[in-house]
Symmetry: C2
Subunit: 402 residues, 2 copies
């Protein structure tokens, strides 16, 4: 996956506070004044290390490491998993679409059309941001464009067409307003007839329209037919687009200059969950930092603060090694310091820089580990020292019960 | 599905406005002053009819009908689909879990544990609300409890256990604070050993703890084993719970007094999308309201404002009929007036009333249409008048192209 969402998680950590309404509510629910006074004056004073946004991350690797008094650290669990999990999911889905296009030797535009089908308003906003980082060109969500500086795009709605007596009248009115920038939606009644009408309307004005959009039916077959009618007019394809549809469209000779993924992007329909966790890996007790782990069946964790080292060979990632934080190792250490003693010490790059970083990184993932069909598993090694620490702690914990 | 999310959609409609920052952004992006001045003074002046929250809705039936100047109506599309689609999805998922328990003759509690895995912060909040309407007892999301008046619940975290030198020390400290209200998480290291420790800790204090929680492993088998050890102590089951897991747990003799669904609830993992649409069905042109429809392959719509009539027999829904709005028909008309001339004319019931309404309604859906395995399709009839109008309009629209 691509690690994305750090900027939002850090913003939350830095602005976390409990106002009067929250304190009143908690008082009503029986929390004691001594505890609530700690919440009222709460301020994050700890350290955070994290993967930069756009860094690929593999199983068992930490995306965020918080060192802080346990009250502060514990309060971050829900929002950290929520923000980083979702954005990482969508950035990954987006990157798979961009990568599918690139591996086919193409360069179609990709625009997020998903806000209305996202799970709530925050998802609509964050999907636009995450998709951009994953290699999209922009979004149709204007609010996200404003909030995050993402390029905004749009075509026309079916309701525009339907609000006129005929499709022809709708196209004429639109072209008279937008001229050669027009992208005409041609499937409201009949896609091929719509393409002919679009051509007639443009010809009568002696202009070329920027493009047409297909939004239903057999997109591959229709795109070829429309391309024969309209020559080099751009064809923009929406309706159920994901990386698999893009692959099938391109390999079966579909003709398109852009795609508008929506629902499948923002809900990651075929894989809608990231089971990210936020776990205690060490605790200071009796003046000493002690490693900690869960042994729960299928949910065991590695103890202690960690580092991730990534080794590159010939411009490709060769393997990662997960180590205890202090261990030196071959490769590049990936976790960076973001907050120290409560202060941000990290310069968040702008979104375009993050996108460029992400795209360069995706290309370095061995191609056989990023194909859509039967990808191989990228190797994450556990360092001998981490392995030993894990085994020893497991034995020590199990001895409680014997 | 259960129709849910109306209150949030209406709130948005009533508070929709464009502030200075939005207008500045749109100005930079080339929108004309004449258009932007309309946005600056925008206020919803139209009518809204809708399904009350908690009303079951079937294919082709409208959940929300907006009659307004097209600029106003069009601006609502994204947020209306976003809010109503997601909450309806999650309320339905929740209702399937509640119904699975009831059809098994049981009454386990259901608590939403999903916020951290929801798609963004808004989804975390709205899932708690929707799940409550669908028959949940409450949520672990305290912010949602405060915002919507939902009962809040919680147990303990693995990090609580891990922050002590031993599981026993963690249980002791917790029980000393919470006494008989304690629900002890027993799977951090070894579930059965954890149950024994919980019993010892309670026995030494001569109290009964409220319950224990299982969060990993074979939940059915472990619940039986823990029940034999702890007698009538409540057993609360989390970890990957959905309606199918609940069914399997109950039918294979699992012993539990409550479930804490999380990821599978809030992402509706097995069916994470609702392809709701917001379509133009009529437009006033030349002083007359004219029906409108799309013919797009696989996406055709029925024209005109509609009514839904639902016929009940022997306390069960028999069938629905979709009609043009003005047509009289057998059964109860389901759409209610919510906004007239821009003013709310509808009393939103409190959340508990909505839940009771939803639960009564779910029971009226024929049981064979709500089983998890091979449910039948509930019948939605198209009235002869609507059918005729649809056919005539289709022919008229197709004649454009001949």
């Amino acid at each position: 996956m691509l690690a994305v969402g750090l900027e939002q998680a850090i913003h939350y950590i830095e602005t976390l506070s409990f106002g009067e309404r929250a304190i009143d509510y908690l008082t009503e629910h029986g929390f004691e004044e001594e505890f609530l006074s700690k919440l009222e004056t709460l301020e994050f004073t700890g350290d955070v290390r994290a993967l930069p946004e756009g860094e690929p991350v593999f199983p068992n690797e930490p995306l965020l490491e918080v060192t802080a008094p346990i009250l502060q650290g514990q309060l971050l669990e829900t929002i950290a998993i929520n923000q980083i999990g979702y954005q990482s999911l969508i950035a990954t889905k987006a990157a798979r679409m961009r990568d599918t296009i690139e591996r086919h030797g193409d360069d179609q535009s990709l625009v997020d059309f998903g806000s209305r089908r996202a799970h709530g308003s925050d998802a609509g906003m964050k999907a636009a941001r995450a998709a951009y980082i994953g290699g999209f060109d922009g979004t149709s969500n204007v609010a996200a464009g404003e909030a995050f500086g993402i390029p905004i795009y749009g075509t026309m709605a079916h309701s525009w067409i339907q609000s006129f007596a005929t499709e022809r009248a709708a196209f004429e009115a639109f072209v008279d307003e937008y001229g050669e920038d027009s992208i005409l939606l041609i499937d409201t009644y009949d896609t091929v007839a719509g393409a002919e009408t679009a051509r007639d309307v443009a010809d009568k004005r002696d202009i070329d329209v920027a493009g047409v959009r297909l939004d239903s039916g057999n997109l591959t077959a229709l795109s070829k037919e429309v391309n024969e009618l309209l020559g080099d007019t751009d064809i923009f394809v929406s309706s159920g687009v994901d990386e698999f549809k893009i692959r099938d469209f391109l390999t079966s000779g579909g003709v398109g200059t852009g795609f508008g993924p929506g629902t499948a992007l923002v809900t990651s329909t075929d894989a809608p969950k990231v089971e990210g966790v936020y776990k205690l890996v060490a605790i200071e007790r009796d003046g000493e930092m002690r490693p900690s782990m869960k042994l729960s069946t299928g949910k065991a964790t590695y103890p202690g603060a960690k580092s991730i080292y990534r080794v590159e060979r010939d411009g490709s990632y060769a393997y990662d090694t997960l180590t205890p934080q202090k261990e030196d190792h071959d490769g590049d250490e990936l976790l960076v310091s973001v907050i120290e003693d409560g202060d941000i010490v990290y310069d968040f790059p702008d979104l375009q820089t993050v996108q460029e970083f992400a795209l360069r990184n995706v290309e370095k993932i061995p191609v056989e580990a990023r194909t859509l069909e039967n990808p191989t598993t990228y190797e994450v090694r556990i360092s001998p020292e981490l392995d030993t620490q894990t085994t020893e702690l497991r034995q020590q914990l199990e001895s409680q019960f014997t």
